[in-house]
């Protein structure tokens, strides 16, 4: 489903974010990406949705070499990928409902489908009461859950989640992880970066560890810290 070969990414100012990264992620896999702050987790996710381009190396997503993708096809790529951004990236002038609905409008779903699915998904993340709140009228955790709802409302092939529980309390986090697990079981490949060791340790899924841009560990049914 996802394949990277010798991918390098250096930001301006000689900041190496990823170095010679190669990895294969199969369909329906659930992968945790861990690593200290600034180790390149978000960069990896940005490369997968072509928000950034690698300096060298090739990336395949859903069977397509995204380096070869013409720019008008990029939206099609992104519609197959749901993405929870670390900084949420909600549309500030849309309510929670509208933010989630937007992901469906983008792929041309008819209004009656939208009216049916969005409330369902908002209910799943526990935000039914906040549906008409704008992002700046919600708590951090609520915004994060809107972002999660938006990412999977259109049942993407791949779900990328960049620290989706950073602003959630442990019990809400557990709920969200159950949700992600359920989504994964219905056939969606999930790649999730996280700092939450208890989540990684209880889920026991494949763990990929980055350190200063280098893949230092790739462990099936792994734990958060190698010393844990």
């Amino acid at each position: 489903m996802i394949r990277l070969r010798d991918v390098n990414k250096t930001y301006k100012g000689n900041v190496v974010a990823l170095r010679d990264m190669s990895i294969d992620i199969a369909k329906q896999e659930f992968v945790f990406v861990v690593g200290p702050t600034g180790s390149g987790k978000s960069t990896l996710i940005r490369l997968l949705i072509k928000e950034e381009k690698p300096d060298s190396g090739r990336i395949w997503v859903a069977g397509k070499d995204i380096g070869q993708l013409s720019s008008w096809k990029v939206p099609l790529l992104r519609r197959n990928i749901g993405c929870v951004f670390q900084d949420f990236k909600l549309l500030p002038s849309k309510t929670a409902y509208e933010n989630v609905a937007f992901a469906l409008e983008v792929i041309g779903r008819p209004p009656h489908v939208i009216r049916q699915q969005v409330p369902q998904v908002l209910d799943l993340v526990g935000l039914t009461k906040k549906r008409d709140h704008f992002p700046n009228e919600m708590s951090g955790g609520e915004q994060q859950r809107v972002s999660i709802a938006r990412a999977f409302v259109n049942r993407p092939l791949i779900l990328l989640a960049d620290e989706p529980t950073g602003n959630l309390d442990p019990s809400t986090s557990v709920g969200i992880m159950r949700l992600l697990d359920r989504i994964n079981r219905t056939g969606t490949t999930v790649v999730m970066s996280t700092h939450d060791s208890s989540i990684v340790d209880t889920m026991r899924r494949r763990v990929v560890e980055l350190d200063r841009g280098v893949l230092v560990r790739d462990q099936a049914r792994g734990v958060y810290g190698v010393n844990a």
């Binding site: 928000e51 099609l76 549309l91």
Partner: protein, 297 residues
């Protein structure tokens, strides 16, 4: 490009509502700058009308010999009637011409008393269709039998033609400059308004929106701003014209000259359509161009 119409309208309306501050700023720019354009266009129209009147009053006089025969006179009459360049003409008989002469020299009895009716030549007063044709018309008669002399206040005619031509060009120039300035200002404002929402555009792209999906609501928004702004400008211009018109109508006679500047209802309507066209065009295309910069994500 298959974009849901319902989505587009809902999106546009909510964008306008939720970005009221920026949207109204753009609207204001459209309104103010198109008001200037509209004002210039109306003044241009007014001067055009006045010019037509001024030029319409240009005459040439064909003085007949005092002893010109009836057939000679009739020949000239016939020729004048047949010339397409001649808008109007009339015959001034000897007694009429003498009356005129006496009026001109009313205060100078010495001069007035020195001539008799018989000495004053009769003449044809000819109004050409175009001021520029005065000379052409005149020259035709210069060597005709029975004609004593063709007199066209040559200098005055030339001056009038070149002055009005110059005025027209100048006013075209002013209108063009104002139009260019207005377009620039509107584009600039739209660019600012969209710049302020560039992050939003980037997020939309990251969520999988195509360029057209993002662009169309922005364009519709620009279209509406252009339309409403132009309508406001039109309203201001209309009211402005009425105010000026009232003032001029109520003024003393001695600025009668300016009455010729007056513009008609249809003139104002035409100007209105120009404004709406410019507003809509610049608003729509400007939005499309402005948003373009932020679509490469």
């Amino acid at each position: 490009m298959a974009v849901n119409l319902e989505y587009v309208f809902r999106e546009t309306v909510s964008n306008l509502k939720r970005n009221v501050s920026m949207a109204s700023a753009a609207l204001l720019t459209v309104a103010v700058s198109l008001t200037l354009v509209g004002g210039a266009l109306l003044v241009k129209k007014g001067v055009e009308r006045a010019t037509v009147q001024w030029r319409g009053n240009v005459e040439l006089s064909i003085f007949m010999k005092a002893d010109a025969s009836q057939p000679e006179s009739e020949a000239i009459d016939r020729q004048l009637k047949s010339m397409p360049e001649v808008k109007d003409y009339r015959y001034v008989s000897k007694p009429e011409a003498f009356e005129e002469f006496k009026k001109i020299f009313a205060n100078e009895p010495d001069v007035r008393e020195s001539l008799t009716v018989e000495q004053i030549p009769p003449s044809y007063r000819v109004v050409p269709r175009e001021a520029e044709q005065t000379k052409i018309v005149g020259e035709r008669f210069e060597n005709t039998a029975g004609v004593f002399r063709v007199s066209y206040a040559k200098e005055e005619v030339d001056a009038l033609v070149s002055v009005t031509n110059f005025l027209q060009i100048m006013l075209w120039g002013i209108a063009a400059v104002l139009l260019a300035a207005a377009s620039l200002l509107i584009l600039n404002t739209i660019r600012m308004a969209i710049f302020a929402r560039r992050r939003e555009v980037a997020v939309m792209k990251l969520v999988g929106a195509t360029n057209w999906f993002i662009r169309i609501p922005f364009m519709l928004e620009g279209l509406l701003q252009g339309l409403v702004g132009a309508a406001l400008a039109f309203g201001v211009v209309w009211i402005g014209r009425d105010l000026v018109q009232d003032r001029v109508a109520g003024a003393r006679n001695d600025i009668q000259l300016f009455k010729q500047f007056l513009v008609t209802g249809p003139d104002v309507m035409t100007t209105g359509f120009v404004l709406l066209g410019v507003g809509v065009f610049v608003g729509t295309i400007g939005s499309a161009l402005a948003v373009r910069r932020f679509l490469d994500v």
